[in-house]
């Protein structure tokens, strides 16, 4: 249903463009795209609210599972897509081919949503490509900007390699179990002959590598800062908050659930990757001069936090809900941060931290948006980021009974959060306590809307997080417990 709405509109937009025989009219296409996204999101939310969605059908035999896990990710990613579209109101004003731009955003959104819903490796792969290929184009959409093009080429090369590795991994999994159905793969992996286990491990490693490229896990993260910095900022929001989360959706379905059947120490491997990821991300973020590059590294760091949940998933019931919660929260937080960067780029043509001095006076609403999102990212108590981190670290400590290494994850996470608070605080200090003496700038209305919504979201769920935690708990598949 969601696919139908978004896909039809996504294909229709360029056709309308050709039929209307004109360029410009950015608002027109943006409005159509926004309408489609709004319809899709309201459909998903109403389904969830009415309770017609099954709890978690990870192990069902259907090709596409209509379950809460998918719906949860779908909501997160559709919110991001809405952010991107709205912030593009301002960004695309003077640029060309708006119809294609919005149609690619819609197509990518379809891909992300279907990655979340996919319950079969074939559908997963095709949806993954549908999510990736439009974003390669979007990243290079500024054809006259060398950095946009460079970002796109880097992103494309690593993305193409990632999808090739995923096909290879799928081929191994298929060969070992004789089916592409995820449930069948899980069953097959559990009943694997001992001599085949090395191949199964190879498949798992390739899956982790393939998804890891998209998620920005540490050995596979080198493209990420360049791509995030070079791409047009609304697209960066989509990349950081959207496709990255889709990577986690795929990882939850395939790696965690599928490989849970392999009774080996994959969890420890994931934990090591998690610690490396968050440390590298946060340490590198300290040294950045550009706000978007800093946020890129910080999102590497957050990928590490989310990975904690995946790593301890077999040992703790709250681990996966924690991951899901942090996925949703991080989508909103990072989304609004990048949208605020869109604001500074359109108004001040920079995202450089030194040039943001006095932003609190020049663009007060944008500055509030950045501040609140940064605080939430750092996990300061009354905001939503605090709760998801709390759940995650709690799960890690909780898992200590079964896995002695798990509490160290929580400690690493807390240390990293403290580090991140330091450099976030530095940005906030630049914005509010230093003065550049510039005049107040008019802020784009679309960005004000996004900031208002998401600040509301972060504060509201920071004060009263129960519904979200409930939703995450019901969305997480429960069949995973040993």
């Amino acid at each position: 249903m969601v696919t139908a709405i978004l896909g039809a509109v996504g294909v229709a937009l360029p056709v309308i463009n050709v039929l209307r025989r004109e360029s410009g009219s950015n608002m027109f296409y943006a409005a159509i795209a926004l309408g489609a996204l709004a319809a899709a999101i309201s459909y998903v939310v109403s389904q969830v609210a009415m309770g017609t969605v099954a709890a978690s059908q990870v192990l069902s035999g259907d090709v596409v599972a209509d379950d809460l896990l998918g719906a949860f990710f779908a909501i997160a990613m559709l919110i991001v897509a809405v952010f991107t579209t709205v912030s593009s109101f301002a960004y695309m004003r003077e640029r060309r081919y708006p119809a294609v731009y919005y149609s690619l955003i819609l197509l990518s959104a379809v891909g992300m949503v279907m990655v979340a819903y996919a319950n079969d490796l074939v559908v997963l792969f095709v949806a993954w490509e549908l999510m990736s290929i439009p974003t390669y184009v979007l990243a290079g959409f500024n054809k006259r900007d060398p950095s946009s093009n460079e970002a796109a080429i880097k992103y494309f090369m690593f993305g193409a390699l990632a999808s090739a590795l995923i096909v290879y991994a799928i081929s191994l999994a298929y060969g070992l179990t004789g089916t592409t159905d995820i449930a069948g793969v899980v069953a097959g992996m559990a009943a694997l002959d001992a001599s085949l286990v090395p191949l199964a491990l190879l498949a798992g490693a390739l899956f982790v590598a393939g998804f890891g490229f998209k998620m920005g896990l540490v050995p596979f993260h080198m493209w990420l800062p360049d791509a995030y910095e070079g791409s047009p900022p609304p697209v960066t929001a989509l990349l950081a908050a959207g496709t990255k989360k889709a990577g986690f959706a795929a990882a939850v379905r395939v790696v965690v659930i599928g490989m849970a059947a392999l009774s080996v120490d994959w969890a420890l491997a994931l934990a090591i990757i998690a610690v490396m990821t968050m440390t590298v991300g946060n340490v590198a973020a300290v040294m950045q001069k550009s706000l978007s590059r800093m946020l890129a590294y910080s999102s590497i760091g957050h990928a590490g936090y989310i990975l904690i949940g995946l790593a301890v998933a077999p040992y703790s019931a709250t681990a996966l809900p924690g991951s899901l919660l942090h996925v949703l929260n991080h989508a909103v937080m990072k989304g609004v941060a990048f949208v605020a960067i869109v604001g500074t780029v359109t108004a001040l043509a920079t995202a450089h931290i030194d040039r943001l001095r006095g932003l609190g006076r020049r663009m007060p609403i944008t500055a509030v948006g950045i501040t609140v999102s940064l605080l939430a990212l750092a996990g300061v108590p009354p905001l939503n980021g605090f709760w998801s981190k709390l759940v995650l670290f709690g799960a890690a400590i909780d898992a200590g009974a079964a896995a002695p290494w798990a509490p160290w994850l929580a400690i690493a996470g807390v240390l990293n959060s403290a580090l991140s608070l330091a450099y976030y605080g530095w940005v906030i200090r630049k914005m509010y306590f230093e003065d550049s003496g510039g005049e107040r700038v008019r802020e784009p209305r679309a960005i004000i809307a996004v900031v208002a919504f998401s600040v509301g979201f972060m504060v509201a769920f920071g004060v009263y997080p129960e519904p979200l935690i409930q939703l995450a708990q019901s969305a997480a598949p429960a069949s995973l417990m040993p």
């Binding site: 095709v126 490509e129 390669y136 184009v137 193409a160 090739a164 060969g175 089916t179 592409t180 800062p225």
Partner: protein, 101 residues
């Protein structure tokens, strides 16, 4: 069928390694694209080989999808490379250096 499954898998593994070598060493954008194609083909070979020995049609279906996806990917990649070539008059990735940090 006189051939064993493991023969096909070995060829596929060899192609995978060649492709990854190409991606790691080459700095020419087109050659990196070649390398990606080689990796995808290695995976397709694996899929069809497994599908033949199971036997089942799922692997062939996925191979067909993957071939079509590769076509789409190459179209986008070549378009990006053409844009880069217009900008730098070069196709060497090492020379596209504007992002550092």
């Amino acid at each position: 069928m006189t051939n064993e499954l493991v023969d096909f898998t070995l060829v596929s593994v060899a192609l995978l390694c060649v492709g990854i070598y190409g991606l790691a060493v080459k700095r020419n954008a087109l050659r990196m694209l070649f390398a990606v194609e080689i990796v995808i083909n290695a995976a397709n070979l694996n899929l069809v080989a497994f599908a033949r020995f199971v036997p089942d049609s799922g692997g062939q279906t996925l191979a067909l999808f993957s071939i079509a996806v590769a076509a789409a990917e190459v179209a986008v990649g070549l378009a990006l490379i053409i844009v880069a070539y217009r900008m730098y008059r070069d196709i060497d990735v090492a020379k596209f250096g504007t992002l550092r940090g």
